[in-house]
Amino acid sequence: MRVTTPTIFNGIQNNLQNLAEDLQRVNASISSGKKYQSISDNPLDVGAILGLNKEGSQTAQFERNLETAKGWLNVTESTMQNITDIVQASSALANQMVTGTYNAAQRQAAAEQIQGYLEEVMQEGNNQYNGQYVLAGYRTDSPPFTEGDWQVQPPVMHLTSGSSGTAVSGGAYTGTTSRTHLVEMVSGGGTGVGTYRVSVDGGQNWTDPATIPAGPVSLGDGVQVTLGGTWNAGDRFSIPVYQPIEYRGDNNNFEIAIETQNRMVINEVGSAAVGGDQGNNDLIQILAQLKSSLEANDPGDVGASLDKLRSYETHSTSILASPGSSLDRVGMKENVYGSLKDEITQQISDRGETDLVAAINLLSTRENAYQAALMSSSKVMSMSLMDYLGTSAA
């Protein structure tokens, strides 16, 4: 083929241009640390890297979620553990008090101890993690367990056989400490016939017997009871007065995402786990009843409360199992995500990051090629027939 001067010069220009582009690409990949500078460099790899990045950020989020879950579950677990300990201490105390060898004064003291336990249970129930109340369902901004107003409770009746006595408690308490009013029939009969006496210290001190009136009987500090029916001598009932602990949370389970399609419950609902739902395993109610029966010096009722405490212990063990097993799952997931994250990082780096050794080798190869091209080009460019014609042609 006939090679003309522009062909030679254009060829030099094109080749140098291509080499400079190569050089620039290698240089950019080294200085940016990224293998590809634009999507079109390798669309499939760049697409895969996008997917991996998404997966990586999701995994990081799930890891943060697991951290939160661990915090909540740990607080829940230790709360339930502490409550179980308190329940065991209460059971031990109740077990002592149920025997006949203790007197009213000792049971009063025990009642105060139970009051202390009750307050501890409430405090435990109001445990927070990161400023959020963990047993409150979704109402994490306010304490789930609060003491309500003083309430005169319904009477706990102990009638002898054949008695048809009825008692309805009422009135508004004006006192400041919790107590239990014990009422005992001294002689049988209905309104205007039977006589009763009252004690507020578990039967250590009694009032003088009085005849059952037609209207409500005032038991002191605003507590009233209306007696009806026909009583037998020896009938007893007690009317506890205390500030019931109320549950102000809700019944929602707090969920957190731990996998793309999987959520984990990280809380226990306070009303079911501790109390406030008035059910069989309402620890707050059980302890309040235990306290009242101790105040009333009634070993029989103490025994009944003891049975309930034991049933709660079984219940709390099963509740305790749930944060425990969830914590195990969190641990497993953390391991999985730990290695998954390493794998994703590795893949992103394999696909997208510059292999420095290879890139620097490539750079020196390209550099050599460029220099060789420059050298040969300058040789070709400087060659001219004129150099040899000079003198002879003149």
Partner: protein
């Protein structure tokens, strides 16, 4: 649309506001203010051509639920996003500036809206892995597809460019090989013609000498 008001420690109350397309903003304000339940708790007004609802009792909180009419979305109340076109789409500036305003909860049948409620947040986060659109892809997969196909198109265009550039170069070379100027060739020709001229001149010079010799003979 239902509005549910919660006063601390009291069960939430809610009232239904009927929306129909003929309602003006003032009508809506009117129907909120005169609602038998909500009227006592909330005061609605029109401010800067926008709907403004204020709780009468500063400690009350209120939320919206079951807005089938999409009136709130249209009014931009309580929305995550702003804008009405792809290029005006954005995150609501209020939410962006104050993450506390993210509606993380959902108001259920009881009307309660507690701070710890994360159902809406879970649902929003769930969108990341939810399929959407006619191809049943997740948002990120669809984006990945878009990017990859864009990249493939760009790569294809780049390849085409290289191919046509090569073709152009090839044709230019062919054209140049026919019509282009080779300096060496021209130089050679120049020398060739120069030599020919020199030779011709030499011939003339020789002839001249010959004639000179002849003329000198006749002297």
């Amino acid at each position: 649309m239902q509005i549910s008001v919660e006063r601390h420690g009291a069960p939430p109350v809610s009232g239904s506001i009927a929306i129909d397309p003929s309602l003006s903003l003032n009508d809506l304000v009117q129907s909120i203010n005169t609602d038998p339940v909500l009227g006592g708790y909330l005061t609605a007004s029109v401010e800067d051509n926008s709907l403004k609802i204020v709780a009468n009792n500063a400690s009350d909180t209120f939320g919206f639920v079951g807005d089938n009419s999409q009136a709130l979305t249209a009014l931009g109340v309580n929305t995550f996003f702003t804008g009405d076109k792809a290029y005006t789409l954005g995150v609501n500036a209020w939410v962006l500036d104050n993450p506390n305003l993210v509606a993380t909860g959902q108001i259920d049948a009881t009307g309660a809206h507690s701070v710890g409620d994360n159902r809406n947040a879970l649902a929003l986060a769930g969108l990341e892995n939810a399929t959407a659109g006619p191809n049943g892809l997740t948002f990120s997969a669809a984006y990945q597809n878009l990017v990859t196909s864009l990249g493939l198109d760009a790569q294809d265009a780049g390849d085409q460019k290289t191919f046509y550039q090569g073709l152009v170069n090839q044709l230019s070379q062919m054209r140049d090989s026919v019509s282009g100027v080779s300096l060496d060739e021209e130089m050679t020709n120049l020398v060739k013609y120069q030599r020919a001229y020199q030779a011709a001149a030499r011939l003339v010079s020789v002839a001249d000498q010959l004639y000179q010799t002849l003329i000198d003979l006749g002297k």
